[in-house]
Symmetry: C2
Subunit: 208 residues, 2 copies
Amino acid sequence: MQKLDTKTKILNAAEQLFAERGFSDTSLRLITSQAEVNLASVNYHFGSKKELIQAVLARYLEVFVPHLQQTLKMLNDSDERFDQHQVFSCLIDPLLQLNAFRHRGTSIFLQLLGRGYIESQGHLRWFITTHYGEVMIAFNSAVREANPHLSKDEIFWRLHFTLGTVVFTMASSKALTDIAKSDFNQEVDIEDLIRRLIPFIAAGVSAP
Amino acid sequence: MQKLDTKTKILNAAEQLFAERGFSDTSLRLITSQAEVNLASVNYHFGSKKELIQAVLARYLEVFVPHLQQTLKMLNDSDERFDQHQVFSCLIDPLLQLNAFRHRGTSIFLQLLGRGYIESQGHLRWFITTHYGEVMIAFNSAVREANPHLSKDEIFWRLHFTLGTVVFTMASSKALTDIAKSDFNQEVDIEDLIRRLIPFIAAGVSAP
DNA sequence: GTCTATATTAAGATAGAC
DNA sequence: GTCTATCTTAATATAGAC
């Protein structure tokens, strides 16, 4: 790390540790020592640990959400009817673009999302839905339009199953890629993983 | 709760809290006050929090694992060739039987499993694989035999995707069933959830 | 086996000098 | 903005009386 300002150094260290170990198993002391900044600076710059967590997520959402909004808009604006495969493709590019934004960005973002979902007692879910709820609704509508044979609640459940698949895979991606390497002598990176996930998910969502 | 001994009272309170909030967000104080026993009794009966966590999981694994071994053995002993659907069916009964063993047992067990996978720094994964690794291998072999068209590593990945789907769904099941109730006026219990999960997973695992 | 009291460690947060 | 020092709280764990 070079001449980054303190705030950025904290965010960089925090996102990595949060993704790897979860929010409550990551202390401010661990973050600040990794970031090589003073312990007190977290509270100076962010106010509290809660607000740091939200800031870490916000940095990704501010990139991801507009990008997803854009791909969904393009899909809707085209005159042709679209199928489910096209809807899911709207996610791919915004997700992979996060790797350009930050090293291992895609993986980190998905891990954070999953940890937020599983770990939080509410404040994170509240933060995400109040700040970025619109896209979730837009995406949901697109999936419904592409799957007229599925009921509203069936789609609700299958989207959550999908989220679960992705998020768990990312959350345990380090363990999984380690095992794959030792058992199959296979080097797997995040793009491989996504490529393997897509057929699994696509088949699941449009299952009879 | 009635005339249960202290050890059991602790296990009962702990499993519920661990499933709901995760291991590190559940303090011994919370457990002992919920169990209405003295704080010091956890260390007297179990030695440490780590060992309590393992004891909570062991109580389920000791029921689930032999039961699964038995259903797999029946499948293997039959002379006919079996398909993938039959292999997955081997899980259903041992899983649902846990509801007879403990109230909400299926859900709690799957949540614990998922939390162990995601949260642990190693000791839980070590504990599970060294004590109960055999069944995991047996199950894996059965899936391979039923899916000769899939490579060894493809199966590895898809089984983990499956685990992720199930585990995440269970870990967030309270949030999900709450939403389903308020949005669709739908009462969903654990068996409904599993019924909805099966087609999703089956389609995913045997995807082209 | 159970309970009180306490040791020990680590966490989030802040006051105040620079 | 940054750093040292410290406050406060809460966690795991244990010693020792009963």
